[in-house]
């Protein structure tokens, strides 16, 4: 009789996996969303930049000058003569216009300051990209003039650079930007996925069962309410964990193959850390699975369940974003008593390879308390006649 929850669990998983909607929402979509999104953004950014920098079309306004000569010697710059440069920039037929004052060379020769005005379109990404390119060129030209002026006075250029800053990470092997980004993003994603992952299943197995009218016959079987609850809870948790896994896989693929414009972020996390992070993710999923199932059981219908569950998402996200910037190295032990914040902090610690037994013990003890509380909450809902027969 004790394996009745196992029968419930198996049936619920089978049922969930036959639901195309649930499978798409919790397995397929998370897997392809980020690679697709990042891929498209990456491709878009790349192609725009490439197109503009290959041939930077600029309108030159003003007479002959040494700057014009300098500019026309830059290989990817194409100077276009035009009278109505403002209109051309607005239309986008040139990316920007460079307006050089009449006595530009004369002023330079007198060691005075000369003006170059750049007219660009603040609403056009092409114009913005061209602006970066042209500013770079002007700065190079400026440096050349400064160098010439100083040399004329017999002064070494290095006088302008009295300090040379050299950044050296304390721990060269560990110095990876990836870990820092990961300590910010991974806890956030794991919390959000733990909330959203089990949701579709929780709605289906709680309120859905009520709405379809299958709950009542189920209550007349040999399975006790706790057995039904455990079977369902486990199935929902599994769906959540699958959801988290496929989301993270999607994210990994996105980072690995689509973010080439961001450069190599170089990650090195130990297997031990990965296992601990995995356990934390499973616990998170179970907590939210229980809470969501309890709420879903209370609801009369799919729609009602979805309405009640949206605040859970929002509250979870607020907490998750609250811990986003939290620095784990300066976090006090007391912080590990704050719900969700402690989970977020412990994941951060695992990523950078800190295994503080006190922190781990406190966080996991609390996690156990949350799980038990969430299950008791779900059990309370499941055993209350007013809730179960609230149709």
């Amino acid at each position: 009789m004790s394996n009745l929850w196992g029968i419930v669990f198996k049936k619920e998983l089978k049922d969930l996996f036959r639901d195309r909607k649930t499978v798409i929402m919790s397995v397929v979509l998370p897997l392809v969303l980020f690679p697709l999104l990042f891929g498209l953004i990456g491709k878009g950014v790349k192609s725009t930049t490439e197109k503009v920098t290959k041939e930077v079309k600029i309108a030159y306004v003003g007479g002959e000058s040494s700057f014009k000569k300098f500019l026309s010697n830059v290989p990817n710059i194409k100077l276009i003569e035009t009278k109505d440069y403002q209109e051309e920039v607005r239309k986008g037929s040139v990316y920007l216009a460079v307006v050089v004052e009449e006595d530009f060379d004369k002023k330079l020769a007198q060691d005075k300051m000369s003006d170059i005005k750049i007219i660009y379109d603040s609403e056009s990404t092409n114009s913005q990209t061209a602006l970066d390119v042209v500013e770079d060129i002007i700065n190079k030209y400026k440096d050349e003039i400064v160098k010439r002026r100083l040399e004329a006075r017999g002064i070494d250029v290095s006088i302008l650079n009295p300090i040379d800053i050299k950044n050296e990470p304390i721990d060269k092997e560990k110095a990876n930007q990836g870990a820092l980004i990961l300590t910010m993003l991974l806890p956030l994603y794991l919390i959000i996925y733990a909330i959203t992952g089990p949701m579709a299943a929780a709605v289906d197995l709680g309120a859905g069962e009520k709405e379809r009218g299958t709950l009542e016959p189920l209550l007349t079987t040999q399975a006790s309410r706790m057995q039904l609850l455990f079977g369902k809870l486990l199935a929902i948790s599994v769906m959540g964990i699958i959801g988290t896994t496929s989301s993270l896989t999607g994210l990994y693929i996105a980072f690995k193959y689509s973010m080439d414009f961001m450069g190599d972020v170089g990650l090195n996390i130990s297997i031990g850390s990965l296992i601990l992070i995995g356990i934390t993710a499973i616990i998170l999923n179970m907590i939210f699975a229980a809470v969501e199932l309890a709420i879903s059981i209370y609801a009369r219908s799919f729609k009602e369940a979805q309405t009640y569950l949206s605040p859970v998402t929002i509250i979870g996200m607020i907490v998750a974003y609250g811990t986003y910037m939290m620095d784990v190295k300066s976090a006090s032990t007391i912080m590990f008593n704050i719900p969700l914040a402690n989970v977020s902090l412990i994941i951060k610690e695992f990523i950078i390879g800190i295994y503080n037994p006190v922190h781990i013990a406190i966080t996991f003890a609390w996690a156990l308390v949350y799980i038990i509380a969430a299950i008791l909450f779900a059990r309370y809902m499941f055993s209350k006649e007013e809730v179960v027969f609230r149709t």
Binding site: D19, R212, G213, T214, Q222
Partner: protein, 242 residues
């Protein structure tokens, strides 16, 4: 086989079922008759251990539902009216098998019973298809099979023909008569006097949670000089309304 003893259920201030007692013997069909909201469903839910009585109890095959709810559930099969409540994404066989498993049957027993039921209810053709696209009548048969797959001694029917067309109603009615033949004790709730008259040996009429009549259908008719039973029902219920 079923003995209802002073069964009472209060929901906050409202007394849905008020001190109801009656008996059902093996091979007997008892009609539980009453208007909507009279307390029929609440009574059946208490007998099937889904709801806890506020006071009173019932015995099913000698088992007290307060003391041994699990064993009571094993003896009971229920068929609800309205939505049949099947899992659309499972096949008919999987639907029935799920309840057989949860009813504590061994795999061989379950499979044997399912084969027999498929034969009896003429479902062989579609037993391995998903029920989502079934017609109402097909779904009704699956629901029947599910209710009885664990061979219960007692069958509870809660307005099982509500919203059914003539042929689907006939399937259910035939099934009820078949249960009687097999010696099961049957409670059949309805608000239709005609259906009760057709199927039942005895009738228990409840109104606003209270029992107002318990006796044989013929006796009821005799008592009211062969009057139309629909009118008798209205008079019984009407008397109490005043």
């Amino acid at each position: 086989m079923i003995e209802v003893i002073g069964l009472t259920k209060k929901f906050k201030e409202v007394t849905a079922v008020d001190n109801v007692s009656f008996k059902v013997d093996a091979g007997e069909i008892v009609g539980l008759l009453g208007e909507n909201g009279a307390g029929k469903t609440t009574t059946l839910r208490m007998i099937s251990t889904m709801l806890k009585p506020t006071s009173g109890t019932a015995k099913v095959c000698g088992l007290d539902l307060l003391k041994e709810p699990d064993k009571v559930r094993k003896k009971i099969g229920i068929l609800f009216g309205g939505e049949v409540g099947l899992y659309d994404r499972l096949t008919a066989r999987e639907n029935i098998k799920y309840f057989a498993d949860l009813g504590g049957l061994s795999s061989e027993e379950a499979n044997k019973n399912i084969e027999l039921l498929a034969e009896m209810l003429d479902m062989k053709e579609y037993i391995d298809r998903r029920v989502g696209k079934f017609s109402r009548g097909m779904k009704q048969k699956v629901a029947i099979a599910r209710a009885i797959v664990h061979n219960p001694d007692v069958m509870l029917f809660d307005e099982p023909t509500i919203g059914l067309d003539v042929s689907s109603s006939a399937i259910v009615q035939d099934f009820i008569l078949d249960c009687k033949k097999k010696g099961r004790a049957i409670i059949f709730s309805s608000h239709s006097m005609r259906e009760v008259e057709k199927l039942c040996d005895r009738v228990v009429i409840i109104h606003k949670g209270r029992l107002v009549y318990d006796g044989r259908v013929e006796d009821l008719r005799r008592e009211y000089n062969g009057e139309d039973l629909e009118k008798v029902f209205l008079r019984l219920v009407g008397d109490k309304n005043e």
